[in-house]
Symmetry: C2
Amino acid sequence: MPDPAPRRGRRPAGEDTRALIVDAACAEFAAKGYDRASIRGIARTAGVDPSLVHHYFDGKTGLFAAAMALPVDPHVVAEGILEQPVARRGQALVRAFLGTWETPEARPRMEALLRSAAGQADMAELLRGFLLREVFRPLVGGMGEAEADRRAGLVASQMIGLAFTRYVVPVPGVADRSTEELVADIAPTIQRYLEL
Amino acid sequence: MPDPAPRRGRRPAGEDTRALIVDAACAEFAAKGYDRASIRGIARTAGVDPSLVHHYFDGKTGLFAAAMALPVDPHVVAEGILEQPVARRGQALVRAFLGTWETPEARPRMEALLRSAAGQADMAELLRGFLLREVFRPLVGGMGEAEADRRAGLVASQMIGLAFTRYVVPVPGVADRSTEELVADIAPTIQRYLEL
């Protein structure tokens, strides 16, 4: 059995193409925001056919996750939570959120993302657009827009504050406790907001 | 009755002294953090007698509020909340917090503070030290340290997330609602954390 091809020097064509698409996605998301960026426009910027984008990435949410170097696609996580019964979604959300970010590789990325959202208005706008459309609004379900905004906004306020006090400005009582302790304390808050 | 003295040119001696003390406090808090900075040390840096610091400022918390250009001394606000019956403290905290920051003058200062806490580790450490010691720990009262940290940390996580989604990265459903609507939605969360 031959050794795998050495990885030094030029990358294989597939990786070049993938990297080209990620670069184009970064530029397009930054320029247009999440809602107005499109796979078609990103393919055009990268100089590839849109079908190639779909070959490498699981839709716009997967492409966004790759462009932001997220450890998982949050939209996929949100879909997993929606499979839970309504009464368990608060718990599932807090557990999935913390679980995703607790690996040694993911944690510095979370810190960097939150810091850049706090410091750069366009980055904040981009993350907000993505999180509301692909994560928080799907989670709160299909009522009227004002009601959905209210629930999604409240959930976002607690989850962002949790991330901030655990990863960015570590606060005792949040940063030094286990995932399951935080799930027990914070899940009832999220559950209440989801059912307001 | 004579006109008040014109304000152009040299400031009166009192204001010079006050400004000198504020500058010294900024340097001292930045260098040592909140807990280790002292009025005596700040007076020494400013080259004035400690009694002069007490003449211009209401203790270390008042000096910190002046150094950070806060619209009010949060410690004084916390004392007002502690005068409420326990069952109303969640409500009082959310209302006081939002009320303080909703004026057109205070709001940009809040944004700047949160952004700099997100971007600069020493600023984050300074604010955390102050908020925990002078605001959140007094509010949760006198139980054991681990229990107090747990309550104070959870309260901080929701309040910081509220500030973030209302002032820094405005999220619909939080940024566009009235103070009293947010008090109604978020006070039960704070109340629950205070009584955990």
